[in-house]
C-alpha cells in the first residue's frame, strides 16, 4: 500500500501512529530516546543540586534572592497549557481532522514561543545583574540545566514549524501521522522536565 493513500474519517485506523512497521519502529525508538533524555536531564539536575549556591567568597548570588516566582509561574502556565493544546491536536489527529490538528499545533507553537521569550528575558535580566555563565559553579550549573531545557523548547519549535509547513498541502496520512505523534510525545516530555525545573530549581530555591 502506498503511504500517501487518502483515508476518510471512517477508514482511518484507531492507532495511525503505530499502523505501519516503520511507524512501530519510530514509536519504540522515540520512547528509547526519551528514556535517554531522562538520564541526560537527571545528570544536569544532579550537578545543579550539588553546586547550587556554590559561589566564591564575596559573591552574594543565591537562589533565594535571585529568582522571581511570578515570572516562573507565568512560564509554567504557558508550557502546561501548550501541553494541553497538543493533546487536543492528537485528539483531532485520531479523528482524521487535519485542519483542526494543524490549528491546535500552531497554538501550541505560539505558547512555546511565549515561554521561550520569557526565558530569554529572564536570562538577560540575570546577566545584567552580573550573574553570567562564568560567574560561579552555581551559575554554570543553573544555565546548563535550564538552558538545555530551553534549547529543547527551541528545537521543538523548529521541528513543529517544519511539520506544520511541510505537511500543509499533503494532509494527514500514514506517512506523517507518526511524525505528528512523536512530536506530541516530545512536547509533553519537555513539560515533564519543566515540572521538575520549576519545583527543584525555582520553588526549592526560594524556600532556601
Amino acid at each position: 500500500m502506498d503511504l500517501n493513500t487518502k483515508f476518510t474519517a471512517k477508514s482511518w485506523p484507531d492507532h495511525p501512529e503505530t499502523a505501519t512497521m516503520e511507524a512501530k519502529n519510530k514509536f519504540v525508538g522515540f520512547w528509547l530516546f526519551l528514556g535517554g533524555e531522562t538520564i541526560l536531564f537527571a545528570t544536569l539536575f544532579a550537578t545543579y543540586l550539588a553546586l547550587r549556591n556554590s559561589v566564591p567568597s564575596g559573591n552574594d548570588f543565591s537562589t533565594d534572592t535571585l529568582f522571581e516566582l511570578p515570572l516562573v509561574f507565568v512560564m509554567t502556565m504557558l508550557l502546561l497549557t501548550s501541553s494541553l493544546t497538543s493533546v487536543y491536536a492528537m485528539y483531532h489527529m485520531k479523528n482524521y481532522n487535519f485542519k483542526a490538528m494543524q490549528l491546535w499545533l500552531a497554538i501550541t507553537g505560539f505558547l512555546g514561543l511565549g515561554f521561550l521569550g520569557f526565558e530569554v528575558y529572564e536570562f538577560t535580566h540575570y546577566i545584567h545583574l552580573g550573574f553570567t555563565y562564568g560567574n560561579s559553579a552555581f551559575s554554570s550549573a543553573f544555565y546548563t540545566l535550564v538552558g538545555t531545557h530551553g534549547l529543547h523548547v527551541a528545537i521543538g519549535l523548529v521541528w513543529l514549524s517544519l511539520l506544520i509547513l511541510r505537511n500543509a498541502r499533503r494532509g494527514l496520512n500514514l506517512y506523517n501521522a507518526t511524525k505528528y505523534y512523536t512530536f506530541s510525545l516530545y512536547w509533553h516530555f519537555i513539560d515533564v522536565v519543566w515540572v521538575f525545573i520549576f519545583t527543584v530549581v525555582y520553588l526549592m530555591g526560594v524556600v532556601g
Partner: protein
C-alpha cells in the same frame, strides 16, 4: 518498503462508538489538566505561604512526581495498551536518574 495495511471501513455504529470513546477520553484529559493546574497552584502557594522548608520541600516534590506521572500516563498515553517497552525505557531512565541525583546530593560535600 512494503506497507501491509488493510483499509477497513468502519460501520456507522463502529464509527459512533469510536467517536464517543474519543470524546470521553478527551474529557478525561481535560480533568487531568485541571488537576495539574491545581497541583501547580498548591506548590506555588505553599512556597509563598512561608511554611517550614522541612514541610514544603517534600510536599512540592511529591506534587511534582504526581504531576509527571499524570503527564506520562494520560497525556503521553502510557496507560494504554502496547506501552510495555516505553514503560521499561522510562522506568530504567528514572532509576538511573534517581541514583545519579542521590549520589550527587549525598557524596559531594563542597
Amino acid at each position: 518498503m512494503a506497507h501491509d495495511i488493510e483499509i477497513i471501513e468502519k460501520t456507522p455504529a463502529e464509527y459512533t462508538y469510536k467517536k464517543r470513546n474519543a470524546d470521553r477520553a478527551m474529557r478525561g484529559q481535560l480533568m487531568m489538566f485541571a488537576l495539574m493546574i491545581f497541583m501547580t497552584l498548591i506548590s506555588f502557594t505553599a512556597v509563598q505561604a512561608g511554611f517550614s522548608p522541612l514541610f514544603v520541600i517534600p510536599v512540592i516534590l511529591l506534587l511534582a512526581a504526581v504531576q509527571v506521572g499524570l503527564q506520562l500516563y494520560y497525556f503521553m498515553h502510557m496507560k494504554e495498551e502496547g506501552h510495555g517497552l516505553p514503560s521499561m525505557f522510562m522506568y530504567t531512565g528514572v532509576l538511573i536518574g534517581f541514583l545519579t541525583v542521590l549520589a550527587f546530593v549525598t557524596i559531594i560535600w563542597w
